[in-house]
Symmetry: D2
Subunit: 465 residues, 4 copies
Amino acid sequence: MSEIKEECGIVGIKCPQKKSLAYDVYFGLFALQHRGQESAGIAVSYDKRKIYYYKKMGLVNDVFDEDVLNDFPVGDCAIGHVRYSTTGSSNVVNAQPVVFYGRFGRMAVAHNGNIINCDSIKSEMMKQGHSFLSSVDSEVIASLINLNSEEGLLSGILKSCTKLQGAYSLVIMADDKLVAVRDRHGLKPLVMGKRGDEIIFASETCALDSLNADFVRDVQPGEIVTVDENMNISSTFMPDIERHSCIFEYVYLARSDSYIDGRSVYDMRYECGKYLAELYKIDADAVAGVPDSAIVAARAYSETTGIPLVDALSKNRYVGRTFIQPSQSLRENGVRVKLNAIKNNIKGKRLVLIDDSIVRGTTSKKIIKLLRDCGAKEVHMLIASPIVKFPCFFGVDMDSKDKLIGGYRNEEQINEIIGADSLHYLPIEYLIKACGGNEYCAACFDGKYPVDVEKYNCGKFVLEI
Amino acid sequence: MSEIKEECGIVGIKCPQKKSLAYDVYFGLFALQHRGQESAGIAVSYDKRKIYYYKKMGLVNDVFDEDVLNDFPVGDCAIGHVRYSTTGSSNVVNAQPVVFYGRFGRMAVAHNGNIINCDSIKSEMMKQGHSFLSSVDSEVIASLINLNSEEGLLSGILKSCTKLQGAYSLVIMADDKLVAVRDRHGLKPLVMGKRGDEIIFASETCALDSLNADFVRDVQPGEIVTVDENMNISSTFMPDIERHSCIFEYVYLARSDSYIDGRSVYDMRYECGKYLAELYKIDADAVAGVPDSAIVAARAYSETTGIPLVDALSKNRYVGRTFIQPSQSLRENGVRVKLNAIKNNIKGKRLVLIDDSIVRGTTSKKIIKLLRDCGAKEVHMLIASPIVKFPCFFGVDMDSKDKLIGGYRNEEQINEIIGADSLHYLPIEYLIKACGGNEYCAACFDGKYPVDVEKYNCGKFVLEI
Amino acid sequence: MSEIKEECGIVGIKCPQKKSLAYDVYFGLFALQHRGQESAGIAVSYDKRKIYYYKKMGLVNDVFDEDVLNDFPVGDCAIGHVRYSTTGSSNVVNAQPVVFYGRFGRMAVAHNGNIINCDSIKSEMMKQGHSFLSSVDSEVIASLINLNSEEGLLSGILKSCTKLQGAYSLVIMADDKLVAVRDRHGLKPLVMGKRGDEIIFASETCALDSLNADFVRDVQPGEIVTVDENMNISSTFMPDIERHSCIFEYVYLARSDSYIDGRSVYDMRYECGKYLAELYKIDADAVAGVPDSAIVAARAYSETTGIPLVDALSKNRYVGRTFIQPSQSLRENGVRVKLNAIKNNIKGKRLVLIDDSIVRGTTSKKIIKLLRDCGAKEVHMLIASPIVKFPCFFGVDMDSKDKLIGGYRNEEQINEIIGADSLHYLPIEYLIKACGGNEYCAACFDGKYPVDVEKYNCGKFVLEI
Amino acid sequence: MSEIKEECGIVGIKCPQKKSLAYDVYFGLFALQHRGQESAGIAVSYDKRKIYYYKKMGLVNDVFDEDVLNDFPVGDCAIGHVRYSTTGSSNVVNAQPVVFYGRFGRMAVAHNGNIINCDSIKSEMMKQGHSFLSSVDSEVIASLINLNSEEGLLSGILKSCTKLQGAYSLVIMADDKLVAVRDRHGLKPLVMGKRGDEIIFASETCALDSLNADFVRDVQPGEIVTVDENMNISSTFMPDIERHSCIFEYVYLARSDSYIDGRSVYDMRYECGKYLAELYKIDADAVAGVPDSAIVAARAYSETTGIPLVDALSKNRYVGRTFIQPSQSLRENGVRVKLNAIKNNIKGKRLVLIDDSIVRGTTSKKIIKLLRDCGAKEVHMLIASPIVKFPCFFGVDMDSKDKLIGGYRNEEQINEIIGADSLHYLPIEYLIKACGGNEYCAACFDGKYPVDVEKYNCGKFVLEI
């Protein structure tokens, strides 16, 4: 069984009085569905130290219907989770939130990210006599917090966070409190919102919008925000904070109508398109973007260069993202059914085709072939980010250098495989500029991991369970 | 129980030798998923007069997984169906294809459209002692063809078609033949394709593309195309052919990468946007389209007027179309989760917002409010089709004048409800011009029904079953 | 696919006012569960010409839970069905009641028995243009009745019954009436009961008991009893009535607490044991019966001979009858898990073992081996019925002479296979005497079929569908 | 939520080489189905420290079909569990075996019994930072063993067992060993068998029989039997062993073809009937037993007194035991459908009716009424055990004195409620004699609990979770 990687979405809500919170979490998760399509779960705290929960494999809409939502009790605190993972762990026992009985009665935890020293923490705890029911990080995080909380939940979280290495944004429901945590690098996004006197945490601002809540601020790297039973909000910080927000959230993962750490994802993508236009002048008849995420950059390219923008590809709205399909065989079939060409917009044209990134390269190759089959005279490909050269150990499914088309290849070598007339990537400095100049983890592009991945055996050692 | 309305998609494939046809039909149906999300079914003829089938409520992807597809026998003929219908009939017994034992052993029929004299045909057959298991048109069509086929399948189809009033595109599998039928008005689309020596029929060309098949031609209004056991193709025509293709297929129903009756849906939508630009000059800062179907028209408007195009709205790709949601309560919640605003593109701007049509008006009202809430200074709405004033009796879910916002209102009165700064529709003559000038059924706009709907009691009499 | 054989149970209830009839039918079916464990279904008429129904594969308890029963509307007429069939047709489309739309609006039919000229009726109807959705007799019966009812339901039933050859007890719900029908031979049982002003029909009296209803009388061979909308009861008779009630109902099929045609099944089985005692004196230490159906005969044998009765075998109450298990492989495993020996009662003893009948012989062989393994010194087997020599074409699953252990063998030859110390069967004249001396169909024992089975190609021709 | 009580069945198998063990466990569980009908589960150890498992709500036959069994890998060790519990905990998270990752890789535990100090152990462990996912004893037992195993599995089990108060028979699969444990009182039965070179443990000998295994011996009170990876068998004993085997296993719970602690359950029940005959001479025409468990005692009564034995009641074999039905409402309906009377055997007769025990009294009352309604002149009731006066805290569902009909009543007062002509119970000394004179826990009859139930707050304190 392979190591588990996750790209997930989380939501947490706390209100002063009881209400049908399951519906709110449901709509929040629905807005975050793009972050994980494998399982979904909601936990509602309905009485002192009691929690009702429901989680299942499937899309938010499949897991929760009105019957299921109506079965939830009213409550004043709730969290939710959507999860994507690689095939090996497609099992409901690995779905989140993790809910158990511990020091504080029932406790629930939802997690986005990847803990790279999870196996060593787990082994250590096992040596002390702890046992685990699933193979997910989240259970380890939850158990560790519970174990460390002999002097209270907050001190338990703080103590645990100094041990956890890697990426984690968490919402925790225990002891009648809702706690939101973002790791000391701020790798995974987490925002705080407000609707009337309710406090809402979510992976992205689009979830706040869907709940008609106002954005308050980003949870800061290393910050632990607690909303207690009286709705008092307080903040604590972990030691050794060094911001390294995941730059790939902007490139691909986040929804374009979200803001991450103050920067509009839409605007950032637009700017990448503008930079491509400045860098790569191509003698072409039309510009097109690969839907959906590269349409924005394509528009920017067109508006900057004056080359007309066309819709070259039509996407079947009933497929998930290629990137996010579990098996390789499905991935290959995926493209055939996912994209179709708008022939009249292509025939006889010299095209500039813009995509946000290339991970494995299979999709790009098929698209270029499709466009040529439909009469494109030339296809010049521009990528709105640098070459993906390194695996991610923090929750994004790019698991080894040799599965990445750019792992050991330069632009020219990559283009030999995908078959465009020309291929160019956006240099890293432009990407960072577009993101607004913060400190980022761009390790998938430059290999500079914010933590010592060698030490934690990332990509080498896999706990066999 | 209310009268049944359907908007459906159909596929039929015939090949010279046996193969795993279920997979092909599956991919074809997947491309037609936008035509119906309620149920899906596939029937494969695997031996002389024998048919294996599987149908269930749900999306194509939910109904068919690899286990289910592998259970299908290899065969040389297969048909498939996706279905949308109003709530009342959400029952698997109404799913298609309809498969039964009749004169030719097993027979299977898949139907897109609505037969307006179905009740009288049914009553007549019942008087003769026939019985029916479901409440769908398709069973009546299938039984009628079987009943009339004493001199052969083709003569049975021809005889039956002279009785059936209304809209129907059919694929029929019986007597080792695949037959494709389009009603004498050509109301519903139906195309024929070829892949090697295989013949494929489908509701739209996008299904041919997804199967990597070449488009051969449209099935003509009133045409009955037969592919026999030796792959011989022959054509017969019904009497009284008068083309009245459904214009709403271009406006909204079809995928923009499809061609209907030789006209590119994408180009048609682009032209509508151009006409809007010519007709309605608005002093605005930006143009935006309601995703997905109105984006094309918005681009055309922008390119014609020079007013910059922006993305004002972001769509959650995991929702189906608002138009196509069963219950009213879900419909209202739908908007909240379906669309979000890209605030930076809106704030302080005078916007032109383009949509393809307005049916009930609820969505438009919410969108305009959303845009104003996000800081839009003005919202001028343009609709790329005329006012929907009349119900459709041919398979599109617009069931009574008083549920249509334009049923008894003019532009101004409609705008009072939806609350834009101004509202304009595209006049009918421009719409027809954009479609390529064929003969259309535009009854939902002009009330000119191609058949005598009074005579068939449409919208008045509902057979209570 | 093999010809379909059924042993089924049916229930019908009519009351003067509406009530939650589904619960009553449920309890009635539950009492008849021994007659069929493959599928169960209930149909309730809840409004003029309208019927709600639910049917599924599984035991009554699995198919219906409180949620499902509560979904049924209140009604004044209802029917139900439990079904057993051979593997080939284990498909929900073959479950009963058959419900469809016909001359009388919705009509529902439940059937116990087997129509031997079903294929020719079906073929004839198909030639006239009728079609069928399933492969069960019941749909043919129902369609035929509907077809023949141009002058009313009753005349349609009467006309149809003169065409149907074979065994059928029916309950029919149509035209606001409940009709109970028993074929002209009275092959399958059918009784009428009363509870207050409600009329109840059922396959066996034990269902009346479970509903706390009083037994009124048996429906007579060839009788058609109608309970109309005003609770008026009337009777009509078919021509050519010749009683040939199925003797195997007494031997094995019916529950011992039921009465069939006025005769207590328990008393009949007791008498068979007495006759065995008179005929076969065996020098033994103990008598035992094979549970459950032969315990009664064993007690009679013991009480007549004075040889003590012991429990030799213990039955796992969670298995169905061996006889009634679908697949051969399951049948063989079945015995291992179905019966265990009470060793202390067996060890060192010379046993008389009594069973009701031997069909395939597999079970008997295993039991005898089991008893010897547990220390029995001798095992003398007595069968409370004659050798089963001929297949049944009327709904009992004994399908060909060569699958019957007694098909071509006498007592001695059979015993060579099953391995008892001695083996004796009850002669037919004693069996008939025990049953009360009516006219019976004992064709499985004597080959005298009440209808011309050669003519109808029974056991030879199988319609391939 | 109420405290959880369980009556369960367990199986464990260890063999020298890998095979399809899931099938064997399945047949073993099937033989133990009477011990629990709520959920079933199987775990197979298929590789060093790896375990595959499957558990679900439902009967053994419903949970496991051939597909599910074939999904299990081959293995050399396996355990299984069937479970009955009160309504509150009918949740799959509470199904067994409990399987988790711990010191030994995967570990699996199946448990029959009830730990009365479970809450205090749980609280203590929680204080140390442990967490629990379910609310069942078994998870606490499993976690405790894992926690205590720092010096090896066996020492961990031994250490844990000195802490656990109450009833438990366990099979444990960990560290490539199979371990069987019986509490120091021997409250719950557990036997060891052998088939070739395979070792099998099971709750009752009937499971060994069904697997065609030979009975070796009972696991002794306080014994821990280990079968290691090389099939070496070794035994260890806990301190403070005092045999108090549950006497109710003989009275009602066990199958009559089982042997418990060397005593045949059948013979014991027969002897109880003989004692009743000696104690209570009644002037009657016939004796009958309530099926199934009291039939044996009735036969003994008849054979001792000479009063003829009759079958008065017929039981629907598709119902579980009344005693073992979850909800009160179902329990009441249960009787109506569960038992019917054989009228001819009752009418005009003075009956002695024998039952094994009376817990709540509802069933007895209904049976007596049923017999009188069917014409019995007199009904004298004899119970083959004493009055149930006290709740059981060790896994049998008799939860409070006031729900027991005999909680505060004597024979006469009980009879006033159930309405027999006379009522007598078997005195405790006779019961103990019939069981063979061992040391028993007969606390439900005499209130002498083998552990200090006051101290552990049994029946008072319920951990609210």
